[in-house]
């Protein structure tokens, strides 16, 4: 499995964990276009916090790293990396690349 696939799978595991906390019939799709926040998103702010923490843990477990997803630059980017699952995946791929894990 490529690093990029491992990243995606780790993030999807975080989605699975998040979905367990939702009532029946509500779930976050495992799709790059799935919105994480904004009007189109089903997530409450606390759900987004839970998802980010879970994704961070899954990624660090998968790659043996200690990345922090919510770095200052993530919070200050004009286009937030937390808009969709796809932008989030791209952002953490970049972070992991800086730790020597190439997702290409």
């Amino acid at each position: 499995m490529s690093s990029q696939e491992r990243i995606t799978q780790a993030i999807y595991r975080a989605v699975d964990e998040l979905n367990k906390t939702f009532p029946k019939g509500v779930h976050l799709e495992k799709s790059p276009d799935a919105p994480l926040y904004g009007q189109a998103s089903k997530l409450e702010s606390i759900d987004l916090v839970n998802f980010i923490m879970e994704a961070e843990e899954q990624l660090n477990d998968e790659f043996g790293t200690s990345i922090t997803v919510t770095e200052e630059r993530a919070l200050s980017q004009q286009n937030s990396p937390f808009r969709t699952l796809g932008t989030f995946t791209d952002y953490v791929s970049g972070l992991l690349k800086e730790h020597g894990i190439n997702g290409d």
Binding site: I46, M53, S66, T68
Partner: protein
Amino acid sequence: MESTATNQHVILVTGASRGIGEYLARHYLTQDYRVVGCSRGPSPCESENYRHYRVDVTDEQGVKAMFAEIGRDYGRLDVLINNAGVASMNHLLLTPLKVARNILETNFIGTFLLCREAARLMKRHRFGRIVNFATVATPLKLEGEAVYAASKAAVISFTQIAARELADFGITVNAVGPTPIQTALIKSVPPEKIARLVERQAIRRMGEFRDVANVVDFFIRPESDFVTGQVIFLGGV
């Protein structure tokens, strides 16, 4: 390192090498807790249930590494006692910027950093008790302690808002505000200043370590799961 994942409750005490922190570390060692302590220097505590980290609470990488080990080795953190703190009695006109920054960094940023990392670990089990340290110098508006009292005022605000942000994770956040206690923290404060401060308390005596432990015991007991965002000042202040 061999995993020591445990069913024992794990408690982390910052500033554990002396004073109130050392007392609390020993206090919880007698109560079947697995105690983790941290401070910049070594600890006099020796027990198979005690582990000490030499880490500065303002050092993000050092703090994160400590929590990573606690998570890996114990698999849990139940209680954080954010005791580490510094003070410097000085008129504000005579307070060097470096001293002011150090007080804010240790007392407020240290508290924030430890809370953040602890909550990440506590949320795994949807249970946690965080006790921060305020001071009576804040409500008493103690002259000579402007920066120290302000740093603890920040801790109080932080405690009250963190309590709301972490409630959904089963984590309570409270603070204890001690009166003067005979520790290194007040060793440079003139005795007459301390006497005047004690006079302003409802109960006019110096605080003791057991007074602090009593409040912390209350905050961390399982039955206190409906108590959060509270600050208890000792001595009736």
